[in-house]
Symmetry: C2
Subunit: 117 residues, 2 copies
């Protein structure tokens, strides 16, 4: 099990700094889109807030959708680079990609930068 | 013209704090979805980073889509509560809703909260 904290992915500057390039917009929009579904966002917060920073599907199935749907959404979050997963025994465990969380936070000036000039 | 800074909208706790309720997920996902399109995100960063904190359509039309498309995207951002607009003379001016920016930042622990426990 390797839960090392990677440095934040160099995605994009804060949204208030300068107009995004087409490439930056593509990259950041991919993450926003993945979180733009209520069930997916709920699952993401379930993983992100779970004890120990990770959760298996068995831990987060109380969102009112079927387990295959849960798995589908978790896959989408993984494809967007927001979650990482690891199989251990019977279960696949999911955790938030720290670099993705940092990159998203940086878009809103979470790195100590004021949000507005 | 009133550019007062409103207090952050009480949307949701940081994503890492606890699993979101269905209602919180609905509210936050609406904002994420609005930013989940590359052109829309680029327009948003253009408005957010524009001198004086606001821009009219005439200022931000260099994103490679038609002006009606720009207007359509700006409308979507407004509907999601991310932009506010005001007509002054010939042009409609857009600015970022400070409360929305603060609410989004808070989701990623931008209020000085550590992103991971």
């Amino acid at each position: 099990m390797s839960h090392t904290t990677e440095p934040p992915a160099p995605c994009c500057p804060p949204l208030t700094e300068r107009p995004f390039t087409a490439e930056e917009s593509e990259r950041a929009a991919r993450m926003f889109k993945a979180l733009g579904d209520p069930v997916r966002l709920r699952l993401f917060s379930s993983v992100a807030s779970h004890e120990g920073g990770e959760a298996c599907v068995c831990d987060i199935s109380d969102v009112g959708v079927s387990q295959p749907t849960v798995s589908h959404h978790l896959k989408k979050l993984k494809e967007a680079g927001l979650l990482a997963s690891e199989r251990r025994g019977t279960w696949v465990y999911y955790r938030v990609e720290p670099s993705a969380l940092a990159a998203m936070g940086a878009l809103f000036g979470a790195a100590g930068r004021p949000a507005t000039p």
